[in-house]
């Protein structure tokens, strides 16, 4: 196994450039799919290697539950310098499993509760209007999914802007963005180096829904205005947790600016010589190397254990 078992644990670093650059140079739909794919591949390889290290680590423990042959001296010699890493990875796997379980559990619990709260609301169009002065609008995934919007939000937008709002939320449901987000959150849990991809994906899915809304309404400026006005009325009470004072523009102004600009080109793969193209290549290469080396490590460990286990 040697170094190959550790490579997939650090190779998620190759996905960081594309997380930074995807939003600027890729169509949001392609960016979202690319980010999710890369995150899932890198996380799976990470998890596989963590599992391999756990097997190695367990072999070092006296009284381990593995077959006797697995903790032979031979095996220990074949997997040197893994004593500490092996034991550490047992702990890591427990933490990762717990965190992923908690994410999935909370996801479905929230969905169930929200659907229960909305029972009886929302007509054939799947729009549930909630009498609430606080302006909010959300897409609630499910079968069927629902768009819930407060009267406070509706009151602050023009009728034409309502169409943009509904089209945006429906695009979230139709594109099943919650699945992409859940998969990437789990990936970020498996390997924390992948966390920046979650933020990038949240932004990409919002932009994707914005573009859909612009396409449905046929008016980019109208959609931009709906997003901008909604953000201005939905601003939190003073003293709330705001990540303010960053020099760069936050996500909403960037979305509005993108909507006021031209339709993003929907080409297959960004040209290799652009920064985004290079970043995409780096991420693809990282995912490939990660897959190969985790496979290599898995085969190596399998052979060692097979040789050690009396059949």
């Amino acid at each position: 196994m040697g170094v190959f078992v550790y490579l997939p644990l650090v190779l998620p670093l190759t996905a960081l450039p594309i997380a930074r650059l995807a939003e600027q140079h890729l169509h949001p739909r392609r960016a979202a799919r690319l980010l999710t794919t890369v995150a899932v591949i890198l996380a799976s390889c990470s998890l596989l290697c963590l599992g391999l290290l756990v097997v190695v680590g367990t072999a070092q423990l006296p009284g381990n539950p593995l077959p006797d042959g697995w903790s032979d001296d031979e095996v220990r010699e074949a997997v040197p310098h893994d004593a500490f890493a092996g034991k550490a990875s047992i702990l890591a796997l427990v933490v990762v499993t717990g965190a992923c379980g908690s994410i999935v559990h909370r996801h479905f619990r929230f969905r169930a509760r929200a659907h229960r709260a909305l029972r009886g609301l929302g007509g054939a169009d799947g729009i549930a209007v909630l009498p609430d002065a606080t302006p909010y609008a959300y897409a609630l995934p499910g079968s069927p999914g629902k768009v819930m919007v407060s009267t406070g939000m509706l009151a602050s937008l023009e009728p034409a802007e309502h169409r943009a709002l509904f089209a945006h939320e429906r695009a979230h449901l139709a594109g099943r963005h919650h699945r992409l987000l859940l998969a990437t959150r789990l990936a970020g849990c498996v390997n924390p180096l992948l966390w920046p991809l979650v933020g990038a994906l949240v932004y990409s899915t919002e932009r994707w829904a914005d573009e859909e809304a612009a396409r449905v309404t046929g008016d980019r400026r109208l959609t931009a205005r709906a997003v901008g006005k909604a953000a201005l009325v939905a601003r939190p009470v003073p003293g709330g947790a705001v990540f303010a004072a960053f020099a760069t523009a936050g996500p909403v102004p960037r979305r509005v600016a993108a909507l006021l600009g031209p339709v993003p080109p929907d080409r297959g793969w960004p040209p290799a010589l652009t920064p985004a193209g290079a970043a995409a290549l780096v991420a693809a290469a990282g995912a490939t190397v990660s897959a190969l080396s985790s496979l290599n490590a898995a085969v190596a460990l399998f052979l060692v254990l097979k040789a050690a286990t009396p059949l």
Binding site: R106, E158, R221
Partner: protein, 143 residues
């Protein structure tokens, strides 16, 4: 009917669901009234076989949820709805939405939080986006 069927199997979830339905029923009865009414008035018009104290309990619970208001000094206490069934759903939803970490794990919000810098930027972007901002629903740009 529904409560009857569910009541035999599992005690707690069925009862909780029953409570939600009773609250909705009480609210809809209150919605028929044109003025603040007493609990006895509600009990008379309720379609369910409930005791007076149950109605009081439900009303008190609705009061805690800020779905009804109580007026009348001393006796009798008068009740008035502030929200109908949709309003009750809104209250439940707000309680859910207030748990930010859970909410963010599932829902895609239409807009995220703005910093003050964002706010200025956004206002200038919207101002640039055109003078057709002034309320005309068919605000198509003229070219």
């Amino acid at each position: 009917m529904n409560a009857e069927r569910a009541g035999g199997e599992r005690e707690t979830p069925a009862r909780r669901r029953g409570q939600g339905e009773l609250e909705a029923q009480v609210l809809s009865v209150l919605g028929e009234a044109s003025e603040p009414v007493t609990a006895a008035w509600v009990l008379e018009r309720l379609d369910a076989d409930l005791s007076y104290s149950t109605v009081i309990t439900i009303l008190t619970r609705l009061h805690a949820k800020q779905a009804v208001t109580r007026t009348g000094r001393g006796r009798p206490v008068l009740w008035e709805p502030v929200a109908n069934e949709a309003g009750l759903a809104a209250l439940r939803m707000r309680r859910l939405l207030d748990k930010q970490s859970d909410r963010d794990a599932v829902l895609s919000s239409f807009v995220s939080v703005l910093s003050s810098h964002d706010e200025d930027l956004l206002r200038s972007l919207l101002a640039e986006s055109g003078p057709d901002d002034t309320g005309a629903p068919s605000g198509r740009p003229e070219r």
